[in-house]
């Protein structure tokens, strides 16, 4: 049955319409979780607000388990679901640059649009920066091309790399997340901030 669009159960235009509705739900959840506030987002790096960690890992685990179960029940064909390719060097280098942008700007791209949608001027300026950064990369691509294409590994799953089953990896990830949630709850008590 699923995924619907790759299996041509729904048309391309229906897929675009559903993208819009999925986006509404995405924006709604981000904003109502507090992701429209840079000071809440940055809290994870100082311990006073760990909402990013809790939402992010709960979401990743929910979606991962959902996909594993849907595949198990034969509801969706995981072979047709897009798995991000791994270019190891640029995955690390890009992540490092993004991490620096995160601590300086206080947003990531998705959350900045939520912030801008409710009137945060700092989020609008961040979005302006995003456009400059994307253009800047395209403009100077020649300088980075080697780095961008280095150490291509295909589309490996982390569970395969570790030599364990998807289910076992999922279980371990849940344990790791629970451990981090305990630390997060402790940190919020240890480094409380009320006024932001």
């Amino acid at each position: 049955m699923g995924p619907l669009a790759p299996n041509e159960i729904i048309s391309e235009n229906t897929n675009f319409l559903l993208a819009f509705f999925i986006g509404i739900a995405f924006g709604w959840v981000l904003e109502s979780s507090g992701f429209s506030s840079s000071r809440k987002l940055a809290g994870i790096f100082y311990g006073y607000d760990t909402v990013v960690l809790k939402v992010f890992f709960t979401a990743a685990i929910t979606a991962m388990l959902g996909l594993l179960f849907m595949s198990l029940f034969g509801w969706t064909d995981l072979d047709l679901v897009y798995v991000n390719p791994t270019y190891l060097t640029s995955a690390i280098a890009g992540g490092v640059v993004m991490g620096a942008g995160f601590i300086m700007g206080g947003f990531c791209p998705g959350t900045s649009f939520c912030g801008a949608a409710i009137g945060k001027i700092d989020a609008m300026v961040f979005i302006g920066g995003l456009f400059i950064g994307v253009y800047g990369f395209a403009f100077t691509y020649g300088w980075w091309e080697k780095l961008y294409l280095a150490r291509y590994l295909g589309e490996p799953k982390i569970s395969d790399k570790l030599g364990i089953s998807d289910g076992l990896f999922g279980f371990l990830l849940i344990l790791i997340a629970l451990g981090m949630f305990v630390v997060a709850e402790w940190a919020e008590k240890k480094f409380p901030r009320e006024e932001y």
Binding site: L18, S33, Y46, A117, G119, I121, G129, L130, F137, W144
Partner: protein, 178 residues
């Protein structure tokens, strides 16, 4: 637990674990419907590619990164899944903020810094995040979160690089936040 007044900001946000489950279900829906995860930076790339193409058609040809993208998105680059999804994000964020009474035009910053300083850092952070999202083939949504859900090795690596770097640099930028 005491009965907090409506002025207590944190009470008006969703419980983070509930928010996480809901976000996970949205991501699951995206994968079930379209066979792909959520994203944000891809939509910005579409807009940049369209803008370059509109302003100067020849320029696209001189930029291999964008030329390749334009080729793989024949027709209108704005007619892409992520562009429609991001339009939805703006609507969804606006609706949520409206119902929660959070609509307000303002520069949010720590009382210890000026608006001007906040905006300079927001711009610099945006430039870096935009650049990094192209180098890393996706941002926190498309690469880290969506990649993790499908167990992509690259997704986990990018997630650790983003959060690890931000943690490592947090000390140097503490004045902006605490």
């Amino acid at each position: 637990m005491s009965n907090n007044t409506s002025t207590d900001k944190s009470r008006r946000y969703l419980n983070p674990y509930l928010g996480g489950v809901l976000l996970g279900l949205v991501l699951l829906a995206a994968n079930f419907v379209s066979g792909r995860g959520l994203g944000a930076s891809g939509a910005i790339k579409s807009v940049v590619a369209t803008t370059i193409g509109t302003v100067d058609k020849e320029a696209i040809g001189t930029m291999p990164f964008m030329a390749e993208y334009a080729e793989s998105h024949s027709g209108n680059p704005m007619k892409s899944w992520l562009v429609f999804q991001m339009l939805g994000v703006i609507v969804g964020g606006f609706l949520s903020g409206t119902f929660a009474g959070r609509l307000k035009l303002k520069v949010e910053h720590s009382p210890k810094i000026t608006s001007r300083r906040r905006l300079i850092f927001a711009l610099a952070g945006g430039v870096l995040f935009g650049f990094g999202s192209q180098l890393g083939r996706g941002c926190t949504s498309g690469s880290a979160l969506s990649g993790m859900a499908v167990l992509s090795l690259g997704g986990f690596v990018t997630m650790m690089a983003i959060f690890g770097t931000a943690f490592a640099l947090a000390y140097f930028f503490r004045k902006n936040w605490i």
